[in-house]
């Protein structure tokens, strides 16, 4: 089926089978491999992208559900060579070790710093429930997002 969507500001019209998941459209059709597939069962959050301003798990969204949507992936966070504050925060506060979960963490953080007023440690820990870091680097991730919130 034919669907049109905007990804990181660029319009795309693609023809994909109905059972195509958004993450496969991004990675394999549009070659945006920054969005990761981790658990593939909606638990780990590595595949998180922004769809119409909201963080969603792209392994659990059909591509056709994104028809007409504006998508932002991790590749779309930096603008004109300048890192987004969440990326800067993860760099400054060492918010990653192996880096596998990082794209999902960054994208969720993007929604959080843009929409949430209170990013206390307690609130952030709850907000990060859907993003797993198996290096268990949560303390640094919390600090990175709080750093970014100050800058936004």
């Amino acid at each position: 089926m034919e669907i049109s969507l905007t990804v990181n500001g660029e319009k795309h019209t693609v023809d994909v089978p109905p059972n195509t998941l958004l993450v496969y459209l991004l990675r394999e059709v549009l070659n945006l491999t920054g969005t990761h597939i981790g658990c593939d069962t909606s638990s780990c959050g590595a595949c998180t992208v922004i769809m119409n301003g909201k963080a969603v798990k792209s392994c659990t969204v059909f591509a056709f559900q994104a028809d007409g949507a504006e998508i932002i992936t991790v590749e779309g966070l930096a603008k004109n060579g300048e890192l987004h504050p969440v990326q800067e925060g993860f760099m400054e506060k060492h918010g990653l070790q192996c880096g596998f979960c990082t794209p999902g963490m960054l994208v969720l953080a993007y929604e959080l710093v843009n929409t949430e007023e209170d990013l206390s440690e307690e609130k952030l820990r709850k907000a990060l429930k859907g993003n797993l870091c198996r290096c268990t680097g949560y303390q640094k991730i919390v600090e990175a997002i709080q750093y970014a919130k100050e800058k936004v």
């Binding site: 109905p18 059972n19 998941l21 963080a55 559900q65 993003n131």
Partner: protein, 285 residues
């Protein structure tokens, strides 16, 4: 993982959706947010020849107050329920319950109508809807009817919706100010689903129970109101020994689920503990 292939329809109006549903009946599955359905399709627990994606039915996205009720369109996302000022001011337990569902990403896609129609015995909303005595509106080409939530859940993933009906709206009577509500769940750490969850509504008159509503999820194949327990408390003076005494009957005579998350005895223990804690919190001691 890729779901089995299917034919996909994307109606733009409720009427169009109802016509597709009545045409394809049980060959078709309705897709709302997909946060339960898509994982089941990916794991191949479920496959359907036809998917009817109702995500484009903007007329089913609303939260409003009307006739003493809060009315929520079936496609309202959990995150919208959680963040709604109208809901948090009139029915705070519902905002809290919504905020406990899965994680932000799932709440940004998952819908209230989808969750109720999916009838997962461990879902968050059912016990809270049971104590709030909510109704759902079911529409078909032959008209519409209202179903009380207590008559909605039939078994695991099974509701009393007919094969040509679409759940379009949830209606929740705004509760009496003097009735206090609470919700607790014990989530499985990996899935986030409730091993057991419990909702209680309690209205006190001094030390006496004027009215009480208690519901459990995760215990049996369908979430249920414990009317027997409620009757044992109505009109009685509420004290520690009475709470302890009545809680002993929780789960008795029921076919309690035993699985690799928890056996039946453990589930009963958690249910009793939640009921006791909620009764104590809500009576204000």
């Amino acid at each position: 993982m890729i779901p089995a292939t299917f034919e996909c329809y994307r109606p733009k109006t409720v009427d169009e959706a109802l016509s597709l549903i009545s045409q394809y009946k049980d060959e078709a599955k309705v897709l709302a947010g997909g946060q339960s359905l898509i994982p089941m399709m990916k794991l191949r627990f479920a496959r359907y020849p036809v998917i009817i994606d109702i995500g484009g039915l903007d007329e089913l996205r609303f939260i409003k107050e009307e006739d003493g009720k809060i009315k929520i369109g079936a496609l309202t996302k959990h995150r919208e329920v959680e963040k709604s000022e109208l809901i948090s001011s009139k029915i705070p337990v519902l905002s809290y319950c919504a905020s406990e569902i899965a994680d932000i990403q799932v709440r940004n896609m998952g819908t209230i109508g989808g969750s109720l129609a999916h009838a997962d015995p461990s879902a968050d909303f059912p016990p809270v809807m049971l104590v709030l005595e909510a109704d759902v509106v079911a529409k078909s080409q032959n008209g519409e009817r209202t179903i009380s939530v207590k008559d909605l859940f039939v078994s695991v993933f099974e509701t009393s919706l007919k094969e040509d009906e679409l759940l379009t709206e949830v209606q929740i009577p705004i509760p009496d100010n003097n009735m206090k509500f609470g919700y607790k769940k014990f989530p499985h750490p990996a899935t986030g689903f409730a091993v057991v969850n419990c909702a209680v509504g309690l209205k006190m008159n001094g030390n006496t129970v004027e009215d009480i509503r208690v519901a459990f999820g995760g215990m049996t194949t369908s979430p249920y109101r414990d009317y027997e327990l409620e009757e044992k408390l109505k009109g009685k003076e509420l004290n520690d020994s009475l709470i302890e005494e009545v809680s002993d009957s929780i789960g008795e005579g029921k076919d309690i689920i035993s699985d690799y998350y928890a056996d039946a005895d453990y589930r009963k223990h958690v249910a009793k503990t939640f009921f006791k804690r909620l009764a104590n919190e809500l009576r204000g001691s």
